[in-house]
């Protein structure tokens, strides 16, 4: 592999948003007071837009290079240098990260602009943008970092910002708790991530190739092929650990519970962090480490099944939700599941492709829902909406396009990306029919619940109260413009990843330097057409059912609610009771453990210490009595004997001084006894 090309503009992609965050964070309150919210907005948006331009520049630079040279690096300084651990503060643009930074800065920029409108009435406007910029910087670090450790820096950084933004309206304890939950669940994932990182590092170190730099790690990956740990191949263990990290960040079973709660944050945050960028970090990471994952079939198998399970479980929950954002949240979880199915069947490129298209349409959906919520005065219950399309045509149009995209109707973006994953699940070496089948069911449910949402929100009669209805309005241009841009993306972006029968994927080709030759399959065109037809018809079926239930209302939802005694409905509606189980087992368990050990500390450990002291004091008290009572008592007894021996039956005569003297006699007698008994 050739040496990457040194540049010095990449750092600014990270630093500009960071600068925005610092300026707004430290001086935001003053700026907002003196220059107004507009200035804050400019300070926040400008760096992201400039970063986007730089990202495009990076992309074009890469494009101008032959594929094998498509690596741009910006090395700032040696960050850590200890023994074999040498980590640079260096940023890398290669085909994979170029896609990611375009998504992050592009969609991120749009969301920033949107947020200037959405958050306009908030007093802590500056703080919001400081966090948002910081998030962008962290996310860019995550995707640009040239080593696993730097990736982890971004990984944790986005977690922090996510925490801060979920709990942005911290006056409500529920929001703060949601933030905590997100952070702590993510920490569980991070725990796995670092262990995976350590294991890979030391395995490579054992082969003499210690490094955490992606290019080096990939280069030497084959060297650890035959190593094992605890009876498993090292790569399997390591990738499992890394995947634990991914389940945390990308909200997969069993760690997805934080994402729905994360909707407590402002809607732009949900769009940016919890739909378009941060939650996809796990997918990015697996794609980044694809060489290792490919070396571990067992892990891939696990990932595929976790992906399927997540996709289906989240979809079932989404079927029953009435909160407009909750539906989208579970839909996000479900879509992330699809991405992991892609990873699991070896289709990293397909997963990243779905990541990208999903970023467009899901951001659009979230922002659309934000627009609705904005209009509805922060009402999020879909049962109180309806018929909104007459008031909010642009929102409706963009939302409708995105729903089509996510439901998987050609030629919208979601169709190509999701179908690619289904196709790979069906045909690739790592895939199998069961995975494909369940994923297909999930796709049908997706179509159902998305259209359900569409119908409940924008069609029919408005169910909002009178006051709200009076004030319904389309959102300002600053909010609708991003919607339009994203909707356009949701329509067209899929075209860069056409299926094989339509000419093959440009996108997969672009990623080849990083993700080479994985997940390709060589089945017949007829099968490919056939599967496309199946998935479109399943989606159509879902739409049809939704139409019957929520548009024509000829089919009552209750039919399904009461199905099988209502058990499935209750299960779905209660999110499979996972929150309750986690709360009861893990949270309460930990707290109980904490209280137990704390009590142990206070009473047992400290008790022992104090006990020792008490014993010493007790002994000393005894000793204090020693002179007075013990010796005396002993002495009195002895005196009795003496008196008896002398036939003198008198009252005990020994006073204190006599007692002291007995001490002498006893001691001397004892010494002599010991001497005679033991020493001679």
């Amino acid at each position: 592999m050739e040496n990457p090309i040194q540049t010095d503009f990449i750092r600014w992609i990270v630093f500009l948003p960071l600068l925005g965050a610092i300026v707004n964070g430290l001086l935001g309150a003053k700026i907002q007071k003196s220059l107004g919210k507009g200035a804050i907005g400019v300070i926040a948006c400008a760096p992201v837009i400039v970063a986007f331009i730089l990202a495009v520049n990076g992309f074009l630079t890469l494009k101008g290079l032959p594929p094998e040279k498509r690596f741009l690096i910006d090395n700032l300084y040696r960050w850590i240098d200890l023994g074999s651990l040498k980590v640079d503060m260096a940023f890398l643009i290669d085909p994979l990260s170029s896609v990611m930074i375009l998504v992050v800065t592009g969609i991120g920029g749009l969301i920033h602009i949107y947020a200037t409108g959405y958050m306009h009435d908030d007093k802590a406007f500056w703080r919001f943008f400081a966090y948002l910029n910081l998030f962008t910087a962290a996310m860019l670090t995550l995707v640009l970092g040239d080593s696993l450790l730097l990736l982890f820096v971004g990984w944790e950084g986005v977690g922090l910002c996510s925490y801060a933004l979920i709990g942005f309206w911290y006056h409500d304890h529920a929001n703060a708790r949601a933030g905590n939950k997100a952070f702590i669940v993510n920490r569980v994932g991070d725990f796995g991530f670092v262990l995976g990182m350590f294991l890979l590092f030391w395995s490579l170190d054992a082969q003499g190739h210690a490094s955490l730099t992606f290019r080096e790690m990939v280069k030497w990956a084959p060297s650890i092929q035959n190593m094992s740990l605890w009876g498993w191949p090292v790569v399997t263990v390591a990738t499992m650990f890394l995947f634990v990290g991914a389940t945390g960040k990308s909200a997969q079973i069993p760690l997805f519970v934080w994402l729905p709660d994360a909707m407590a944050g402002p809607t732009p945050v949900s769009a940016l962090i919890h739909a378009a960028t941060m939650v996809t970090a796990g997918v990015y990471m697996t794609a980044r480490m694809n060489v290792f994952f490919s070396m571990a079939p067992a892990t891939l198998h696990l990932i595929a099944w976790v992906g399927v399970a997540t996709a289906v479980v989240a979809a079932t929950i989404a079927l029953t939700q009435n909160d407009i954002k909750k539906v989208l949240a579970y839909s996000t979880v479900s879509q992330l599941g699809y991405m992991f199915i892609g990873v699991g069947v070896g289709g990293y490129a397909a997963a990243v492709f779905h990541l990208m298209t999903h970023a467009f349409f899901k951001a659009c959906l979230f922002l659309g829902s934000g627009s609705v919520i904005h209009a509805m005065h922060h009402e999020q219950d879909m049962r109180k909406m309806g018929g909104l399309k007459q008031w909010m045509p642009i929102t409706f149009a963009t939302f409708f396009i995105s729903v089509l995209a996510i439901a998987g109707f050609p030629p919208f973006a979601g169709f190509f990306s999701k179908d690619e994953i289904l196709w790979l699940a069906f045909t690739s070496d790592h895939g199998n029919k069961a995975v494909w089948f369940f994923a297909l069911c999930g796709a049908g449910m997706t179509a159902f619940y998305m259209f359900r949402q569409l119908f409940m929100t924008f069609y029919g009669k408005c169910r909002a109260d009178h006051h709200t209805q009076e004030h319904l309005h389309e959102s300002p241009a600053v909010m609708t413009m991003p919607l339009v841009v994203l909707a356009i993306g949701a329509v067209f972006v899929g075209l860069i990843g056409l299926p094989g029968v339509l000419g093959g994927s440009q996108f997969a080709h672009w990623l080849e330097p990083v993700i080479a030759g994985h997940g390709e399959s060589h089945a017949s065109h007829a099968l490919e057409w056939g599967l496309m037809a199946v998935s479109v018809s399943v989606a159509s079926f879902g739409v049809f059912v939704a139409y019957l239930m929520y548009r024509k209302e000829s089919l009552s939802p209750d039919t399904f609610v009461n199905l099988a005694g209502g058990v499935p409905y209750r299960l779905f509606n209660a999110k499979w009771y996972l929150d309750e189980i986690y709360q009861a087992v893990l949270v309460e368990g930990t707290l109980k453990l904490a209280r137990f050990w704390s009590a142990f500390d206070a009473y047992i450990v400290d008790g022992i210490v104090n006990g020792v002291a008490a014993v010493v004091r007790f002994v000393s008290w005894l000793n204090g009595l020693f002179d007075t009572y013990i010796i005396d008592g002993l002495v009195n007894a002895l005196a009795n004997v003496t008196y008896w021996a002398g036939n003198r039956f008198r009252r005990l005569q020994t006073g204190n001084i006599n007692g002291y003297l007995y001490g002498i006699i006893i001691a001397m007698a004892a010494a002599v006894y010991v001497k005679i008994r033991y020493w001679t």
Binding site: G646, R648, N656, I657, Y662
Partner: protein, 103 residues
Amino acid sequence: MSPNELSSYLTIGAILFGLGLFTVLTRRNAISVLMGVELILNSANINYVAFSHFSSGNSAGQIYAIFVIMLAAAEAAVGLAIVLAIFKLFHTIDVEAAETMKD
């Protein structure tokens, strides 16, 4: 110079020592206790004189005994003075009465 003779002196000394101890341990009259101390001293004296006569071959033991007698007198003087003071303050010379200090 038969050893039997020596041992009979030593036996007397030992008995005297025992009696002295017995006295100081059992008597509560301060004067009696002091007399017990005198007995102990004199038991040592008997030993000294006997050893001096029978085994050492010099008069060191006898000289020692003389010094002990002298010191016994001094001690008795001091002792009686203290007992007098005790009597003044406590109106008794019972050693058990003088027990104001203890733990």
